[in-house]
């Protein structure tokens, strides 16, 4: 096991941030922590990277206890905090060399590991880090956290505030790193990114709701789910919420995801109801449940 978390709890004053969290991440796995802001993701990261002590429970990272063997952990993990935290007044190259030096290595020694990422920012290596674009900053931060060839990589919301193209590129890079045998624990509030992980843990209010592969979580969705569409989105949502048999109503892109309480639900009935509310061009069709649906259902 690359990461093992056993019954970890942590409170800040009286407010619990993590409640009895347990999970395990296999070696070379790309594991996602999926949850909204304030779910406790960053707290968990800080405990696993030895920056914070848990109130209760134990955890090991790459076989080392986070409390007793913190020194070994600091040598063998890479951590990329959610906030860009490199030296803005140093250049790209200086930042990399700096982190390489304090890890007791050099840029050349582990160049092959970061090569894919570094070549993209190399043209700007004499530019100050503060002057880079958001996506470039992420790439630099990732390079810096990889410079010492870590066994485990912690990425706290690496794609928050990054444009869709850079996000996609970033996940491709993670996949490539995974192939090099690095265990990756990544947190994200984006449900679409969850599908790219090997396994995910859905987390809310400091509790883990479910742990499984993204496909299983989506397939386990207990109800039949319908895409509903009409000419007036707002009125459609209002009307569906009024409908007495509704189980859940969530806007989802251009559709509304609808589930019904009854097992013998007839879409025609709903069409008639919506027409009576004055909606036109009504479209109702079954669809595949996504992780977002699963999360909403679990978080209910």
């Amino acid at each position: 096991m690359s990461i093992s978390v056993q019954h970890i709890s942590k409170s800040f004053k009286e407010i619990p941030a993590l409640r009895d969290i347990s999970f395990e991440v296999k070696e070379g796995e790309l594991f996602g922590l999926i949850g909204p802001d304030g779910a406790g993701k960053t707290t968990l990261f800080r405990i696993l990277t030895t920056l914070l002590f848990a109130d209760k429970g134990t955890a090991t990272v790459a076989g080392n206890d986070v409390v007793a063997d913190y020194k070994q952990i600091r040598n063998s993990v890479g951590y990329m905090p959610g906030r860009f935290s490199l030296y803005q007044d140093l250049t790209v190259e200086e930042n990399l060399t700096f982190f390489a030096t304090i890890f007791g290595t050099t840029l050349e020694e582990n160049y092959d590991l970061i090569k894919d990422i570094y070549v993209q920012i190399e043209p700007f290596k004499t530019r100050r880090a503060g002057k880079l674009s958001g996506g470039m900053k992420q790439k630099l931060a990732l390079s810096c956290s990889l410079i010492h060839k870590p066994k485990v990589l912690f990425l706290d919301e690496p794609t928050t505030g990054v444009d869709p193209v850079s996000r996609k590129e970033f996940w491709e890079m993670l996949k490539r790193l995974q192939k090099k045998g690095i265990t990756i624990l990544v947190s994200t509030p984006y449900m679409d990114e969850a599908a790219l992980c090997d396994r995910i843990a859905l987390i809310q209010d400091g509790k883990i709701l479910q742990i499984d592969t993204p496909e299983t979580i989506a397939n386990q969705f207990p109800k039949k789910i319908y895409d509903v569409k009409a000419d007036n989105m707002y009125l459609l949502i209002e009307s569906l919420k009024e409908y007495s048999h509704n189980h859940s109503v969530y806007p989802f892109g251009e559709f509304v995801h609808y589930t019904d309480q009854r097992d013998d639900f007839m879409p025609q009935e709903l069409t008639a109801f919506l027409q009576s509310k004055g909606l036109k061009n009504i479209y109702i069709n079954t669809t595949q449940a996504t992780i977002e649906d699963a999360f909403m259902e679990l978080a209910k």
Partner: protein, 378 residues
């Protein structure tokens, strides 16, 4: 070692790339040295002096002439009555009013005794005291002349003769600062102030800054050793402290021609230890604060107390006893003492040994506290 050197290199790069900070570090302190040394003076000059002459004789005019001849007094028009004088004093138009009574000359000649009324605006007590001394000196001087004049004009009788012989003159000899040049006294002190402020503020703000921008968290997950980080972070400010001292000493010599009697090497040696106190203190502050603002305010709070209680502006001997005891914990006090002793008196290492020992202890305590309170985990 390589790591420490690298951190030091990085710190210097950051300091010299911070375009807003550079002038604050190097230009402003020196401007302060030049301005403060010239302006912060306790010499009382340009005293607005006026008088009421009820006598109008050659004697009374001779007395006024004495005041006019003095460089300390600016003699204004005379007042006709006490009432107008009082009003002027109330408005602040005049600092000192001398009233010469009726029969001033007559009394002096016949009775050999008379009285003068001096009214001094004493809102600033210290200045009033100094003014009083100046006035007394002038009146005494006048008195002596009168006696000599009388002696010349009078037949010497045994009785007058004995009276004259009673006068004792004291001639002061001012050591270490013969001309009582105020700047000689102030420049070493203000130099201390600058070195202290800049080193303490910079070191205090520096580590907090890493906290603010989040880099400290990134550093904390690395295997870097505590001592490597601390030494690497603080060393540049040690060097900057020396830089400031050097520039300040050069300016003191060139602009103010401050005597440098003692050994410059001794000053540097003491400063080396003294800077460690400041850096430890700055580091200690930054461990307990989260933003540069907080660090700045705390550092400022201590600096103000330290400066006011350092003997830089007011002598420690005249403070109440409890305050004198508190100054024992004031590092600036020792630095001010050492600078003045070495620069003006040419003190040797044995002379400054008490200050040196106390400062060394202070440095050890402060740095131990700072290292102890620094945690890589929150």
């Amino acid at each position: 070692m390589k790591t420490i050197l690298f951190i030091i290199q990085k710190e210097f790069k950051q300091i010299f790339r911070n375009k807003g900070m550079l002038p604050i570090i190097f230009v402003l302190p020196l401007l302060q040295l030049v301005i403060l040394s010239n302006a912060a003076t306790f010499e009382v000059k340009n005293i607005k002096f006026s008088y009421i002459d009820n006598d109008n004789t050659s004697f009374s005019r001779a007395l006024i002439d004495k005041f006019e001849a003095s460089t300390y007094f600016k003699v204004l028009d005379k007042f006709e009555s006490q009432k107008t004088a009082k009003q002027a004093m109330l408005k602040g138009d005049v600092d000192v009013v001398l009233e010469i009574p009726n029969h001033f000359e007559k009394d002096l000649i016949t009775n050999k005794k008379t009285n003068l009324l001096v009214a001094i605006n004493a809102i600033d007590g210290a200045a009033a005291g100094v003014e009083n001394v100046y006035i007394n000196q002038i009146v005494q001087q006048f008195n002596k002349n009168v006696i000599v004049d009388l002696k010349k004009s009078m037949v010497i009788t045994p009785s007058t003769n004995t009276e004259l012989l009673k006068t004792i003159d004291s001639i002061p000899l001012f050591w270490y600062n013969k001309t009582l040049n105020y700047k000689t006294f102030m420049v070493p002190g203000i130099l201390v102030l600058l070195v202290t402020m800049i080193s303490l503020f910079l070191s205090g703000m520096n580590i907090v800054r890493e906290k603010e921008i989040g880099t400290l968290e990134q550093i904390n997950v690395t295997p870097i050793k505590k001592y490597q980080f601390i030494v690497g972070k603080l060393f540049p400010f040690w060097v900057i402290g020396f830089g400031l001292l050097t520039i300040g000493l050069i300016l003191g010599k060139l602009i103010f021609n401050v005597p440098m009697v003692g050994s410059i090497a001794l000053i540097y040696f003491y400063t080396a230890i003294y800077l460690l106190v400041l850096l430890g203190m700055g580091f200690f502050i930054s461990n307990f604060t989260d933003t540069q603002q907080q660090a700045m305010f705390i550092a400022w709070f201590f600096v103000v107390i330290f400066i006011l209680m350092s003997g830089l502006f007011t002598p420690i001997e005249s403070m109440p006893e409890w305050a004198q005891f508190l100054t024992e914990f004031n590092p600036i006090r020792y630095f001010v003492e050492v600078m003045r002793m070495v620069m003006l008196k040419g003190a040797s290492f044995t002379d400054i040994l008490p200050q040196f020992v106390k400062t060394t202890v202070y440095a050890l305590v402060m740095n131990s506290l700072a290292v102890w309170s620094y945690r890589k985990t929150s």
